[in-house]
Symmetry: C2
Subunit: 211 residues, 2 copies
């Protein structure tokens, strides 16, 4: 194994370092966030920093990059307090990636990349019609991370749209059966296959697989 | 598609809701965090809430559950300021899961589950010898999330141990070649296969795959 230290990492060319550090964190949940601005214009952006905060209440966070780099989704969430998070599947992974282009404000990435906004359940923000696992959130808190001018944006899950046949009897969602993709770095997309589920672990006995 | 709202979610049995919400967030980076306490005793815990905060400086965060549920790793990081994050591979996924059992303080999960602590590069915290992609961090900030008594723990990457042959020319790490696993929910582990990498996206032209 090769070992790198802080001095090595700081010396690397900017894009090399970004690719490296971005993939060091491992496979990530990658999703499309749908919003509207105060005039009702739709926006869609790809985010790979979704993080589970808690299940009761159902809180989910994402990291928003500095505002100079990623202003629109953030502004829309601040303005309306509502947004959707939509899983990505192989059939539209290229369109999903394309939403990362820096489109001007007021341009709908839905139109530009060819995905379909879906308004349902009286929610102001659009879902992605093509997505098979998707949910709406109401903004709870925005926590500034002063170390690098990013933000932890936390929402509460208010609505979930999903096919029943991928939900196991114990509530676990077989997202591999919906072919939800994950990502690595800023531009790699992956399909995943179950190795095993394991029992709740207790001291004294190695947890066994769940059949 | 079936639609659930907040009232439905709140009405669910506790473990059903936890399984459901925990898998709604999508595939997650799952890793082992290695620490020592102030007496130098090793600790190892599994965490599936690793999140990329930024590449320059190289900042990586994780969500620590409320202290009553997950006290040891957090206390050790607070006490020593240093920790390691280690990718998990299929050959030791069962041992990795077993570290989630509630062992008493001072018990080394390394010993209990059969993984090997590796001290190297003058870092106080142990790496997992069996891991093929691993890094050490120095604590930068702990941000309390008052909504549910969790914490965002942010560290700066100080050292990386990795095989050169999985790093692409542009710095991207082919973590699928190291067979790093990802997780879903609290107990499902997965292997991932590359669909495609895509070019940096710009308005006006759909980004193409990187060969």
């Amino acid at each position: 194994m090769t070992s790198y230290n802080s001095t090595d990492i700081a010396s690397w060319e900017r894009f090399y370092r970004a690719n490296f550090i971005n993939s060091l964190t491992g496979f990530k949940s990658v999703n499309l966030i749908g919003t509207v601005n105060s005039a009702g214009q739709a926006n869609l952006g790809i985010f790979s920093s979704i993080v589970h905060i808690g299940s009761n209440p159902a809180l989910i966070g994402y990291i928003n990059r500095p505002l100079r780099a990623a202003p629109h989704t953030f502004a829309n969430i601040q303005s309306t307090g509502v947004y959707t998070i939509n899983h990505i599947h192989p059939s539209f992974v290229q369109q999903a990636h394309q939403t990362s282009a820096k489109y001007e404000e007021g341009i709908s990435e839905f139109d530009e990349v060819g995905l379909t906004p879906e308004f349902r359940d009286s929610i102001a923000a659009p879902f992605v019609q093509e997505s098979l696992v998707k949910y709406a959130l109401s903004l709870q808190e925005i926590i500034p991370i002063q170390l690098n001018d990013t933000f932890l944006v936390i929402g509460k899950v208010t609505n979930v749209c999903i096919d029943l046949d991928i939900i196991a009897a114990d509530g676990f969602i077989n997202i591999d059966k919906a072919d939800s993709v994950c990502s690595n770095g800023g531009d790699g997309y992956y399909q995943s296959t179950l190795i095993n589920r394991f029992e709740y672990a207790k001291p004294g006995k190695i947890a066994q697989t769940i059949p």
